[in-house]
Symmetry: C2
Subunit: 139 residues, 2 copies
């Protein structure tokens, strides 16, 4: 249970640091992760359902965040040419530029709050242990 | 960064398991944690500001959750006798009973999703590493 409380507290506190840093950039953490996933995907586009799965978020929650990104001109929605039911989120050029501007500050925050605090052995244990936790629950 | 993604994914997925299990009991995770903190405190009472600090949550977010608990009869608010500005959350008898009913299912969920998946060495490394992360950010 000591581990569980450390996990809960670190999750909440690292999350708070990230939220504060990204808020200064006008993005939520989910919005930032949407931009990252789109930038990493083929042609900067993913189905909304794929995005929701990748971010472990509900479709309704994701839909709201993508609407905010659309209003900011960073993402646009398109209907999926191969699936009439599917809607695709597409990264705009402006979105790609914005991500390039915001990413260094975000990475620095994660590094300062989490990565730099851990020993290499602790990092490895977290990558392996929590990786397995994630795979089992996602499976 | 592999560690960071494992940490993010495990946080989201374990959180989802817990939310689903507690939703069946009519509680949010924050509401459950409020009941636990009050039950662990002297005379089942804490200032709202102490609760917000302990749960790493905003005062406005906490206020909403405590209002929901009040409506369910599990917590009541009182003015603090030693501090005119302070409002105290008090666990009711019904709240204590409800926590006793709900806790075993919650603990079983945390155990199944997280604790049982990790090796003892991983658990120790996570407790120590993330404990240090939390202490630095809370400090």
């Amino acid at each position: 249970m000591r581990m569980w409380h450390a996990f809960l507290a670190a999750g909440a506190l690292v999350g708070r640091e990230i939220d504060q840093q990204l808020k200064g950039e006008g993005l939520s953490h989910t919005q930032y992760e949407v931009l990252v996933r789109l930038a990493d995907s083929v042609a900067g586009r993913l189905r909304m359902s794929e995005l929701a799965d990748a971010l472990y978020t509900s479709k309704s929650g994701l839909s709201y965040q993508v609407t905010q990104l659309e209003k900011a001109g960073l993402v646009r929605r398109e209907t999926c040419p191969t699936d009439v039911r599917g809607i695709v989120a597409v990264l705009t050029e402006q979105g790609r530029t914005r991500l390039r501007e915001v990413a260094p500050g975000h990475v620095a925050t994660v590094r300062r709050a989490l990565i730099d605090v851990l020993t290499p052995a602790q990092s490895r244990a977290i990558a392996e242990g929590l990786g397995e936790v994630g795979r089992r629950l996602a499976g």
